[in-house]
């Protein structure tokens, strides 16, 4: 697989990187791919933050839309903000493992549900604007 290099230099080297269960297996991938994986993790963390901030802001600033829709949208956004770190961590872990074991990269399985929740929250906000007297 392009970019995957095997190194025997570190056999017998005591694995001190966290998590050990990951770094103990397979071979070292190209560091650039690991760094890109890390940036993806950080992007999901920032996404989580933005989602939670949006949900809280809806309620804290009592945005003038239909209150029931506003509360539901706020809860959904915060929930999505809680779900995004799951994709961040498990996505990073599974991708790093796939790179080490030279297997196909996993799909971001938590990304779909997060996107769906955000979509529903957006629809609720639009409805809240439309139904505000």
């Amino acid at each position: 697989m392009v970019g995957i290099t095997v190194t025997d230099r570190h056999e017998g080297h005591e694995e001190r990187r966290f998590p050990r269960s990951l770094y103990g297996q397979g071979s070292e991938p190209d560091p650039r791919f690991s760094l890109a994986n890390e940036r993806t993790f950080l992007a999901w963390i920032r996404t989580s933050l933005a989602l939670m901030a949006a949900g809280v802001a809806l309620e804290v600033f009592l945005v003038p839309i239909q209150p029931a829709f506003r509360l539901t949208a706020a809860i959904l956004l915060v929930a999505a903000g809680i779900g995004a770190p799951l994709q961040a961590w498990f996505g990073w872990l599974r991708t790093e493992r796939a790179m080490r074991m030279s297997t196909p990269l996993p799909s971001p399985r938590f990304a779909g549900p997060v996107a769906l929740v955000v979509l529903v929250a957006g629809i609720l906000v639009i409805l809240g604007i439309a139904l505000w007297r």
Binding site: H10, R17, R32, L42, M52
Partner: protein, 92 residues
């Protein structure tokens, strides 16, 4: 700032990763400050303590991120360009 003789990667991946960490931690810092500002009517003066603690954590992580970038850069350009000394420990 240390002298940088050469970069490991023309695509500047370690540098981009260090910047991504800074972006993320700064976003967390802003959120922590906003949250402690919001706690002011609830906790009064103690919310300043909470904000201070949050800022201290943010600064600590930023410093750790900078040290990690230097370790990664040094490792990749001098010691061994095939492995990434990632994770919580700064091995060398």
């Amino acid at each position: 700032m240390t002298r940088v003789e050469r970069v490991f990667d023309p695509g500047l991946q370690p540098e981009r990763t260090a910047l991504a960490w800074q972006r993320t931690i700064l976003a967390l810092g802003v959120a922590a400050l906003a949250a402690s500002r919001g706690l002011l009517p609830l906790f009064g003066a103690s919310s300043y303590v909470i904000a201070g603690a949050g800022l201290a954590v943010i600064v600590a992580i930023l410093i750790a991120t900078d040290r990690r970038y230097r370790a990664v850069h040094r490792h990749l350009t001098t010691v061994d360009s095939s492995t990434l000394p990632s994770g919580g420990r700064l091995d060398d």
